[in-house]
Symmetry: C2
Subunit: 386 residues, 2 copies
């Protein structure tokens, strides 16, 4: 019993399904992104919405105090409480969130916000005056028609918003853009072009504000694909990226990483077979994988994920072709001549996900292993909510 | 300040996004299903994977002690600890889960399991012998080629599995089937036919076991669509259903319910506009809605959900056409002549989901209101994990 208690736990000791991170791969991914941006001379502001874990964040940020970017105020509170001091909340802020923003700033955290309308800018300015403390604010620019932001061609609107902030009592910190369209660019030249488009629009907008004698200290760009494929960041002061520590099958489909760069997987147990249909059933369904089917729109549809053995070695063309709430169906990809592996009830399989952010969000912790090992080195709690 | 503290909280006081349940609608849905099954003389075993909440479960089960069905052992533990005594774990059990099954049974909970292979049956029998306590087990039948189970035509295999259980020391309790294909049946006649197919296969398999002199006390069928459209349940001893208390847009698309029967919604705040594209941006993205796009395969694609005002009144044809992690894009459905409503930054909207199970799983609590009211009556915590 004593020997048992002291034995290192392995993946085979876990209840399934659960979330596994290969730390060897993760640290390699982080080092590569840091080195790339260092070569371009621009600091990395890591988006912590992907990891949502204090323990994981320490490995992916460039320093324990940040800089970081978040997508919820709950993330700002959690990471702020853990010592991160420079946090950007990168979703358009609304009046009903400004009390929480002020409370976080009152704890000594340099939380900045973004706006893309005069109405939101007026609300931030009013709150700044009310608390007698200028809330640092960036104007969000739309560089590709993807989502939010002032159209980068609408300089009149851009200057109007910035003026409301600056004259109204907020702190105009600069501009921010996110080339979300990079998620539909495939291959090096398309990604390089999108990175340049993102940079170009952000810098042009920053210059327009400067010409209007408005202060711009921050020019923030980023997405994992454009961060990885940027070749010139002149005029940019920081790059944001989030999914790069883990990567996923969607990023593989874009050509941003290879399958062997994917650090995240879901560990699952074989629960049955339907031999007539060529199916192996496992206990990871969409609750464990998420409903994300991002690769369905790509050239190679990976189903709900790509199957690997316990040590992370891929089974040729074995994918999760369908998922129910707590059951997944593994089968050989259509058109492939690969053989269905001989897996028995109780055998363990690891599934690489479509989208690390979505799959991670379904779990409350990471089980940490190193490459080519099934020994559990650590468990990193995750949080969620708003 | 005192007046403020005593004031009833309303939806406008909440941080968004959050999950709202209209209890008036929920209780009406529950009463309708109970009344339908009572008219057929068969008890309802509610699937608690949808609600995942002790407080909500009390309103949907027919008694505080059950019967209930669950999709994870964590659900069995949580509901068992809360006093539910009759629990069926309806995912094929594996050897690595049997210690947990035994531990739950040792707490006085009548937890039953299902198997669809000789290998799994042997594992359950061996564990039963080891703990000197027969684990009640049903054999899962495949009635429609949808997922798991012994093909209902393979009576030899069915009898072999049941024999392993019965002779090996487990308790053979009966058969179970789930007409998952009902999720692609549209309209009354298709749903009625699928309900009859589900019943017919289950009863035939039960009779085959009886002819082999094997005991069958339970003949369990169900899915929300077949439960709602069953017309004859002769030979069936219980019906399982889960999503009926909440319903969702997917069920509406099948014709199982109407939009006004949907009790679940996500409350969200307007964060911006892209007038050139006819978009309203909100702070509920796929993290709040889930990535479930079940209606994409149906005649009416509801995007990531259908928008209502704060009181739950639907905006004509306003749907969430796209979702990012923490942002959703509302727009008028393609082809509709409806006008984009005039919503300002900070306004609140409620979004009806594609799939109640998936959307619910993204949240840690239900905020409870009554129909035509925005007053918060209760908050029901949800749990998750395995």
């Amino acid at each position: 019993m004593l020997a048992d208690a002291k034995r290192t736990l392995t993946l085979s000791d876990l209840d399934t399904p659960c979330l596994v991170v290969d730390q060897t791969i993760m640290l390699r991914n982080v080092a590569r992104m840091r080195s790339h941006l260092a070569s371009l001379g621009v600091p990395l502001r890591v988006h912590l919405k992907t990891v949502k874990s204090l323990a994981a964040a320490r490995h992916v940020m460039t320093s324990p105090t940040g800089p970081a970017v978040v997508s919820t105020l709950q993330e700002a509170e959690q990471f702020g409480d853990a010592g991160v001091r420079d946090i950007l909340y990168a979703i358009g802020v609304t009046p009903n969130k400004l009390d929480r923003v002020a409370a976080i700033r009152a704890r000594g955290i340099d939380l900045s916000v973004i706006v893309d309308s005069v109405a939101a800018a007026e609300a931030v300015a009013a709150k700044s005056r009310q608390i007698s403390s200028p809330i640092p604010t960036l104007v969000e620019i739309d560089c590709d028609g993807h989502r939010a932001g002032v159209p980068s061609t609408d300089l009149r609107q851009l200057v109007a918003i910035a003026t409301v902030l600056q004259r109204g009592g907020a702190e105009l910190r600069g501009v921010l853009t996110h080339a979300g369209k990079s998620y539909s660019c495939v291959g090096m030249s398309a990604l390089e072009a999108m990175a340049e488009q993102e940079r170009n629009h952000a810098v042009a907008c920053a210059n327009a504000l400067r010409q209007a004698e408005l202060p711009v200290s921050t020019v923030s760009v980023g997405s994992t694909p454009t961060a990885a494929f940027s070749r010139n960041l002149e005029g940019v002061t920081e790059v944001r990226a989030g999914v790069f520590p883990f990567f996923d099958l969607f990023m593989t489909g874009l050509g941003v990483c290879s399958e062997t760069d994917i650090a995240l997987s879901v560990l699952t147990t074989v629960i049955g077979h339907q031999p007539d249909r060529g199916w192996i059933l496992v206990d990871a369904g969409w609750m464990a994988m998420s409903r994300d089917r991002g690769t369905a729109r790509q050239k190679v549809d990976q189903g709900y994920g790509l199957a690997c053995d316990l040590m992370g070695r891929r089974y040729p063309d074995l994918i999760m072709v369908d998922a129910h709430q707590e059951q997944g169906i593994l089968a050989v990809r259509e058109g492939s001549s690969a053989k269905l592996p001989d897996l028995a009830i109780g055998d363990l399989v690891r599934i690489l996900p479509n989208h690390a952010c979505a799959t991670g969000a379904q779990h409350d912790e990471y089980v940490v292993v190193q490459s080519s090992s099934d020994c559990i080195d650590a468990r990193w709690p995750r949080f969620r909510g708003w």
